[in-house]
Structures are given as structure tokens and as C-alpha cells.
Amino acid sequence: MNVSTDFGVWVGALLTLFIFSFLYKDNPLYKLAEHLFVGVSAGYYIVLNYWTVIHANLVEPLAAAFGGHLSGGPFHAQQGDYRAFLVLPGLLGLLLFSRLFARAEWLSRWSLAVIIGVYAGLKTTGFAQGDLVAQVQASLQPLWIAGHFWASVNAILFTVGLLTSLLFFYYSREHKGVLGGVSRVGVWFLMISFGAGYGYTVMSRVSLLIGRFQYLIEDWLHLR
């Protein structure tokens, strides 16, 4: 057997086995791997976020703006090159930390107001265009398509599923009589969609297991 001689691969393989050992029972090797993972992840993402977010988008451009090397001066801004104006978002970012001090906590609301305002605007227009209008438009389809029997069955099933599922979420009247029957059909459609979601979730989780086994077999043990 031609086992890998790469130290990093050995570390990855052993930590994988340590994590798998939890399936038998909790043990110190699992705890070691778990704590390593939490610690390394936290450290890695703090450093990564500093260099990819704060340094790249704030520190570096501000240093360039005030370094005196850019033509037009620190306030000669244009799209993508905001120069010294980046002080403003930088200040809003710092204000978020005022939550750590009870007396100045209210200052963080200014930053939160900007964040919530921008994202509410982006999300609302995006949702309206991408989901609401387009999905309602796609839901309005002919129930009978001449010469396409199965497409017609599909369209009828789709429409029945849509209407009954929507009526299931109508709570202004007790679900009895016709509404009760219709919403019961809606529950069946919802159950089928939950089942499909569960199946896809299982596929995702098994894929992760396959990925780890492929790593052990191919990268560590070189069995394939």
C-alpha cells in the first residue's frame, strides 16, 4: 500500500477518523478534533475577514488616498475608487462597537439603520422582480394543452397543488367543510414537497460522507 507521505494529508485523515469515532461513543480524540476545529475555524475566519474585508476594502484604499500618490487628491472619487470618502463607512463600522458600552450603545443604531436600509431596499426590489412577479406569471398557465396530454396533467396538478397549499395557510376561517377538505389536499402536496426536501438533504449529507471517504481512500491511502 502506497500511503501518502504528506504531513498535511495525515493530519486531515487522522482528524477525520477522530471525528468519525464519535459515532461509536464520545471520546477524548473526538473532543480534541472538535476543539481544534472550533479554534482553528474561529482564528482562520477572523484573519480571513480582516484581510479580505477590512484591509482590502478600507485600510488599503484609505492608505492609498492619504498617501499622496493618487492624482486628483484624496477626495477626487469615482465609482469603484471612493478614496477618502471611505472614512464614512469606516466610521459607521466603528460605531457598531459602541454596543460594548452601555452609555454609547445608541450610536450603533445609526450603522444598523444604514445596513438594514440598504439591504431592505436591495432585497425588496430583488424579491419583487425575481420571485413575486416572475413566479406569479409562471403560475398562470393553460390547464389544457392540445396534443400534450402529460403536460396538461402536469399543469392541472401544479394548479391544484398551488391553490390547495395556499388555502391551507388561510387561517381566517376554521378548516371545516369544503375549506377543510381542500386544505387537507394542500397538506398532502406540502408533505410531498417536504419529502423531496428530505431526500435532497440526505443526498447532501451522504455526499459529504462520500467526500471524506474519497479523501481517505484516494489522498491518504492511495487505494485508487
Binding site: L48, N49, G80, D81, F213
Partner: protein, 279 residues
């Protein structure tokens, strides 16, 4: 098997059987059939419909956690795009992803170089790397790709890269290929870019997020979709490749059969218990 035995079965036996069912086919493949589904065929066809030599935007929004599902589809999509002589502009909206994506792009580019086909970083493809801001980045790219990404993953000014010389905004791209592990990903590209800038779009996503994106496929907002490892394997099959997703599908199928059997047995136990509890 008596219900009493099933009731007291140690769940570690289930873990062991599942582990063996996954491990076995990876060591000794069975070769269960992989049949391409309609969304996968549509994905392949959408890329095939892109004019040769076009510039395509590919956003690889994932990190190493989704590697088994998403790297195989990234590899196959890159091969199809490069077989059509497309220029590929790659972005990453997950900050844990750029190194993995870079490694994946280079491994595929090296395959072509080994066959004597010249692929030059900055001319035929570029990895613009990570930019924080999620939806805000998507909207900004609509105003200017180079102003949103002043430098690429390797720190080169994007204004100096030949591949981006004629790229201004989304109108410069023939297609958006989004490989998505969650947020930000397909849903956000759909809402912010496809619906607003009308850039045709296909998606390859993790299986867990696939059900959420089917409505976009049904409405025609997505031109095609690859859902999880199965989608990646079907795509490999369509392209006549045998990649890691195809190798994993035997294990995937056996694991699914076993879990389905466990669900049936679990219900039998529950049913037996209810019958036993009746006076």
C-alpha cells in the same frame, strides 16, 4: 425480524452498515446506471447554445465544505466552456472559497495545457476572487465589473487584463453559470441579476438547496440546473466523463436505499408498538 429486536437495535449498527455501504462501492464500483434528467440536459444545452468564443461569467459561491458536490460540476462546466473556446470570468462571493476555486480552475487549465491547448490566465480566464457585500456586489457589477473588482485574486489590476478589455457590465456576458452552496448564491443571483439585468443563468447547487430553486427552473428563470452530486454525475455522463461525482453515485444510491429501508422499518416498529398498546 421480530419488532422487539428492531426496537432495541443499537443505532451504531446502522452507522456501521451505512459506512460499509458507502465505503464498499468506492473501493469496488458496481456501475449502477446514471440517467441524465431534464434539468441537467437543459444545463448542458444552455452552455452549448452560447456562441463560441463568448465571455461567460461563472460565480463559484462555495467553500471547502461543499467540495464533494460542487467541485465536480465546476470542473465539468469549465471543460464544456473551454471546449467551446469561451473566456471565463470567475467570481467568488464566499470568502472561504477563492483558494479552492483557484486550485480547481488551474487543475482543469493544466489538463488542457497537457494536451497542447494554450490557456492563459488573464486572457482565456481570470479568477477575480472574493469581494464582500453579497447582493451589493452583484448590483455593483451591473454598473461596472472592473470598478467592483479593481484587482483579481492574484492582485493584478483588472484594467490591465486582456480578458476584461471589452468587459463592462453584465451586458458583456453571454451566460451566468452559478455554482452555489447557499447564501449568497443562486437565489440572490436570480433576484438581483437575472431578473434585473436579464442575464441568462444556469445553476449548479448543493442537493440541500435544490428544492428551493426548482420554481426558478419551472418558470424559465433558470435555463438549467444541477442538483447535488447526482446532478454532477448526470452532467459528467452527458459529457462522456467519469469524474468523482460518477464514482460516488454507487455509494450514494446504496446509502439512499438503506436509509429508505430504515424509514420503512422505523414505521413498521412504530405501527407494531401502536397495535401492541391497544387494549
Amino acid at each position: 425480524m421480530p419488532i422487539a429486536v428492531l426496537e432495541k437495535l443499537d443505532r451504531r449498527w446502522l452507522f456501521l452498515v451505512l459506512g460499509l455501504l458507502v465505503l464498499g462501492p468506492l473501493l469496488w464500483p458496481i456501475g449502477l446506471p446514471v440517467v441524465p434528467s431534464r434539468p441537467v440536459i437543459q444545463f448542458r444545452d444552455a452552455i452549448a447554445a452560447v456562441p463560441q468564443g463568448s465571455t461567460v461569467l461563472m460565480s463559484c459561491d462555495y467553500d471547502p465544505a461543499s467540495r464533494p458536490e460542487l467541485v465536480p460540476m465546476t470542473v465539468t462546466a469549465l471543460r464544456q466552456l473551454w471546449d467551446r473556446h469561451c473566456r471565463v470570468v470567475v467570481t467568488v462571493l464566499w470568502n472561504g472559497g477563492p483558494a479552492l476555486v483557484d486550485q480547481t480552475i488551474e487543475s482543469v487549465a493544466n489538463e488542457y495545457r497537457a494536451r497542447g491547448i494554450r490557456l492563459v490566465d488573464g486572457v482565456d480566464y481570470v479568477n477575480l476572487g472574493y469581494k464582500s457585500g453579497n447582493e451589493a456586489v452583484m448590483v455593483l457589477m451591473g454598473q461596472g465589473v472592473k470598478s467592483t473588482f479593481p484587482v483579481d485574486q492574484h492582485g493584478r489590476p483588472t484594467s490591465s487584463l486582456p480578458i476584461l478589455r471589452e468587459v463592462r457590465n453584465y451586458s458583456s456576458f453571454a451566460l451566468l453559470v452559478n455554482i452555489s452552496a447557499g447564501y449568497p448564491g443562486t437565489k440572490e443571483w436570480e433576484q438581483q441579476v437575472n431578473s434585473r439585468f436579464h442575464l441568462p443563468m444556469v445553476s449548479g447547487c448543493t442537493a440541500v438547496s435544490a428544492p428551493e430553486y426548482y420554481p426558478y427552473l419551472q418558470s424559465g428563470q433558470l435555463r438549467g440546473m444541477l442538483g447535488g452530486m447526482a446532478g454532477a454525475a448526470e452532467y459528467e455522463k452527458l459529457r462522456g466523463e467519469r469524474g468523482p461525482a460518477t464514482h460516488g453515485m454507487d455509494a450514494q444510491s446504496l446509502a439512499h436505499l438503506f436509509i429508505a429501508a430504515c424509514i420503512v422499518l422505523g414505521n413498521v416498529v412504530h405501527w407494531g408498538r401502536r397495535r401492541g398498546a391497544r387494549p
